[in-house]
C-alpha cells in the first residue's frame, strides 16, 4: 500500500562521523558486563570504565569537531557544529557526575546496591543526550527524549529504600510520561500536516504552504509541552523541585545541567530547522551565520517570550522562600531556563552563541554548586541552609569556592556567569526586546537575595567551629570547577571562539 521510498540505507562508514556516541554506547555495555564481575563494596571496574569511556568520548569529540553539516544514518541524524558542541559538553558532564558519585554516600553508601549499573546508566544517558543534540527526524526526536527520560527515572529512584527518592521517581515518571504522550500526539499532527518526518523536509513542506498555520501552531504547542518538560520551563515544571529534592544529589546535579542542555539542543535544532528559513534573512553585521526568517505562525517568538518571562519570574520568586538548598537550586535552575529562553527567541546567530556559551558556563557553575551540596551532605548529613552556618570558619576554602559559584549564578563579575549573562542581554537589547531585558535584569536582582541567603549562613551565622575536612576527591573536583568559573570571567575568548565555530557550523542557520 505504500509507495517505494528511495533507499538511502545507512552504511557502516556513517559511524566514522558518530565516534563519540559509539564510544559511549560501548562504554555502557562494557560497564554493565564489568559489573557482573565486580566484587566488594566499591565497583572499581564499572567506575573506571564509565569514567574512561566518557573521557575517551570527550577526546574523540574534541578532536573531530565537525566542519559542516553531514546527514548520516539514513538522514535521521545530522552531525554539524551544534551537535559537535554538545557532544563535547555531555561526556564532560557525565565524567564529572561519575567522579563525584564515587565519593558520595548517597550513591556509594553501604546500603546501596547496583552501584555498577549506576555508572553504566550515566554513560547511556550521555549517549542519549548526544543523540538528542543531533536528531534530525521526528522519530529520533521522540526516541532520544525517551531514552534520556527512562534512564532519568531509574536514576531518580536509585535510592530505592528511601521514600523521598522513590517518590521523586514516581512523580518524574508520571509527569514525564504525560508530557511524552502529549508530545507524541503533537508529533502525529505534525506528521499529518506536512506528510514528512525529517525536520528539513517538514520545513520544505511548510515553505510550500502545505500546512494550515493555526493547525501548525496547535501541533507545535503540543510538541513544546514535551520539550518544555525536559528543560523544565514553567507550565511544565511541576516535577522539577520534587525530583531535584528527592533524587540522590549527584543525580540532581546531572539532571540540572544534562537533560536541560539536551532539551535546549533539541529545541534549537527542531524549531530553528522547521520554523526558520535560512539564508534569505537579514544577515547581522559581523555574525558568522545568517539569521533566519520565520516560517509558519509569525507570533511564535512572542509566545516563547511570555514563557521565558513567566519561567524566570516564577523560578526566582519561589526560590526566595526555600530553605532546602537542593530545592532552592531547583527553582534557581528554572529561573536560568527563563534566561536561556530569552536567547532562544532572538532567532539569531548571536543569540544562539549566547545560549551555548551560557549553557557551558551554567554547566560548570551549577555542577559546582551541587558538588558543594554533595560534599557537605557527606559530612553534615543534610542540605538545609542552616546546616551551613559558620562554614567560613570550619572550611574557609570550600566556603570561598561556593561563594564563587553563587556569584557566578547571580551573574556578578568577575565570574563566568557575568560574561554569559552579558552576551545574552546584549543580544536581547540589540534586537530591541527592551521590556524583556528589563524583566530579565530585575529577575537577576531578585536572585541575588536567595543566593546570598546561602552566603550569609556561611559567613555571618555563627555555628560549630570544629574544622571540617571533605573527601579529597570532592575537594579536587570542586577546585576543578571553581577555577574555570573564575578564569572564564576574566579571559573567555577561546571559549567564545569555540561556541562561535559551533554556531557557524549549525545546519539550521544555513552554516
Amino acid at each position: 500500500m505504500f509507495e517505494t521510498l528511495a533507499l538511502n540505507a545507512p552504511s557502516w562508514s556513517d559511524l566514522r562521523h558518530f565516534v563519540p556516541e559509539t564510544v559511549l554506547v560501548v562504554t555502557f555495555l562494557l560497564a554493565l558486563m564489568a559489573d557482573l564481575f565486580a566484587r566488594g563494596r566499591r565497583p572499581a571496574g564499572p567506575f573506571a570504565l564509565a569514567l574512561g569511556g566518557c573521557l575517551v568520548a570527550l577526546a574523540a569529540a574534541v578532536s573531530s569537531l565537525p566542519a559542516g553539516p553531514r546527514s548520516i544514518l539514513g538522514d535521521l541524524v545530522v552531525v554539524d557544529g551544534l551537535a559537535g558542541f554538545f557532544r563535547v559538553l555531555f561526556p564532560l558532564i557525565g565524567a564529572i557526575t561519575i567522579l563525584f558519585s564515587w565519593a558520595s554516600g548517597e550513591i556509594m553508601g553501604p546500603r546501596r546496591e547496583h552501584k555498577g549499573e549506576f555508572y553504566a546508566l550515566v554513560a547511556l544517558m550521555a549517549f542519549g543526550m548526544c543523540v538528542m543534540a543531533s536528531a534530525a527526524d521526528l522519530i529520533m526526536l521522540y526516541l532520544s527524549v525517551e531514552l534520556v527520560s527512562l534512564t532519568s527515572y531509574v536514576m531518580a529512584g536509585y535510592m530505592r529504600t528511601s521514600l523521598r527518592s522513590t517518590e521523586a521517581s514516581l512523580k518524574y515518571v508520571i509527569f514525564g510520561s504525560v508530557s511524552s504522550g502529549v508530545m507524541l500526539y503533537g508529533l502525529s499532527l505534525l506528521f499529518g500536516l506536512t506528510g514528512e518526518t525529517t525536520f528539513v523536509e517538514i520545513r520544505a513542506a511548510l515553505l510550500a504552504g502545505r500546512a494550515d498555520n493555526f493547525a501548525l501552531l496547535v501541533a507545535m504547542v503540543f510538541v513544546l509541552a514535551g520539550l518544555g518538560y525536559k528543560i523544565a520551563a514553567v507550565p511544565f515544571h511541576f516535577w522539577c523541585p520534587d525530583v531535584y529534592e528527592g533524587a540522590p544529589t549527584p543525580v540532581t546535579a546531572l539532571f540540572s545541567v544534562g537533560p536541560k542542555a539536551a532539551g535546549f539542543a533539541l529545541m534549537i535544532r527542531f524549531f530553528y530547522t522547521t520554523l526558520l528559513s535560512p539564508g534569505g534573512g537579514q544577515a547581522a553585521a559581523g555574525a558568522a551565520a545568517p539569521d533566519g526568517v520565520i516560517v509558519g505562525p509569525a507570533d511564535w517568538p512572542l509566545l516563547i517570550a511570555i514563557l521565558s518571562v513567566v519561567t524566570m519570574t516564577y523560578g526566582n520568586l519561589v526560590a526566595l522562600r526555600q530553605t532546602n538548598v537542593k530545592r532552592l537550586l531547583a527553582y534557581s535552575s528554572i529561573a536560568h531556563v527563563g534566561y536561556l529562553l530569552m536567547g532562544f527567541l532572538m532567532l539569531t546567530a548571536a543569540g544562539l552563541e549566547a545560549i551555548l556559551f551560557y549553557l557551558l558556563v551554567y554547566a560548570i557553575m551549577n555542577l559546582g554548586a551541587f558538588l558543594f551540596v554533595i560534599a557537605l551532605n557527606n559530612r553534615l548529613g543534610g542540605e538545609e541552609i542552616s546546616d551551613y552556618a559558620g562554614l567560613s570558619t570550619r572550611a574557609p576554602w570550600v566556603a570561598l569556592m561556593m561563594m564563587v559559584f553563587l556569584l557566578s549564578l547571580t551573574g556578578l563579575p568577575p565570574t563566568a556567569g557575568f560574561i554569559g549573562k552579558m552576551y545574552l542581554f546584549a543580544e536581547v537589547i540589540n534586537r530591541h526586546w527592551f521590556w524583556l531585558a528589563v524583566v530579565g535584569a530585575l529577575n537577576s536582582v531578585v536572585s541575588l537575595f536567595y543566593y546570598m541567603k546561602i552566603a550569609k549562613a556561611m559567613y555571618f551565622t555563627p555555628g560549630e567551629r570544629a574544622p571540617l575536612r571533605l573527601e579529597p576527591l570532592h575537594t579536587a573536583v570542586l577546585i576543578l570547577l571553581a577555577a574555570p568559573t573564575l578564569a572564564l570571567g576574566v579571559y573567555w575568548t577561546p571559549f567564545k571562539n569555540f561556541v562561535d565555530r559551533a554556531v557557524a557550523g549549525f545546519a539550521g542557520l544555513g552554516g
Binding site: 545507512p10 531509574v154 493547525a215
Partner: protein, 183 residues
C-alpha cells in the same frame, strides 16, 4: 456499509471502555476495561490496513503491557478504599478543560485541508516494514533496543530483592517504613 458499521463498532468499544478505565471506581474493572480499549484500537489498526500494527498491538500491548498492569494491580492489593475517592471536586474543571480542548482540536481537525490521497489497496505491510527496519530505519531500530535494555536494567535496579529481610516489609508492617536516608 459493513465497513462503516465495523468502524463505529470498534470506535464505540474503544471510547466507551476508555471512559470506563478512567472513571471506574474499581481498579480491577479499570484494568480489564483497558483490555477492551486495546482490542478496539487493534481493530482500528486492522481497518486502517495496518495488519502488522494490529497484530503487534495485541501481542505487545495486551500480551505485555496489560498483563504487567494487571500483575501490578494484583500485587499492590489495594484495599477497596485505596482506589480512592474519584476526585469529584476535580471532575468539573478537568471536564471543562477537556471539552474546550476537544472543541479546539475538532476545529483543527475538520478545518484543516489534510494533504490526503485516496487510500490505495490494503496490501500486507509486514514485508515493507521489515525491510525498512533493516535499511532506512536501522538506527532507530537499534536505538530502541537500547531503550528496552535500559528499561530492563532499570526495572531490575528498582525492584530486585537482594536482601528481602531488610527491605520488603512484607511482615504486615502497614506503617510507612521509608527510612529517611541521611547518611
Amino acid at each position: 456499509m459493513s465497513g462503516d458499521l465495523a468502524f463505529y463498532g470498534f470506535a464505540a468499544l474503544t471510547v466507551l471502555s476508555a471512559f470506563y478505565v478512567v472513571f471506574s471506581r474499581n481498579i480491577v474493572h479499570a484494568g480489564f476495561s483497558l483490555l477492551f480499549t486495546l482490542f478496539g484500537v487493534a481493530g482500528l489498526y486492522a481497518m486502517l490496513a495496518a495488519d502488522f500494527l494490529a497484530a503487534t498491538q495485541v501481542i505487545v500491548y495486551i500480551g505485555g503491557v496489560l498483563v504487567l498492569i494487571l500483575f501490578t494491580v494484583m500485587m499492590t492489593r489495594i484495599p477497596r478504599r485505596g482506589a480512592g475517592g474519584r476526585g469529584l471536586d476535580r471532575f468539573v474543571p478537568a471536564g471543562v478543560f477537556a471539552l474546550l480542548l476537544f472543541a479546539l482540536l475538532y476545529k483543527v481537525i475538520t478545518g484543516t485541508p489534510w494533504a490526503e490521497k485516496a487510500p490505495v489497496s490494503a496490501d500486507p505491510t509486514t514485508a515493507r516494514l521489515g525491510a525498512s527496519f533493516l535499511t532506512d530505519f536501522v538506527f532507530p531500530f537499534e536505538f530502541v533496543s537500547l531503550i528496552l535494555l535500559a528499561a530492563m536494567i532499570g526495572a531490575a535496579i528498582l525492584i530486585r530483592d537482594r536482601r528481602p529481610a531488610a527491605d520488603d516489609g512484607a511482615g504486615g508492617a502497614a506503617a510507612p517504613t521509608g527510612e529517611e536516608e541521611r547518611s
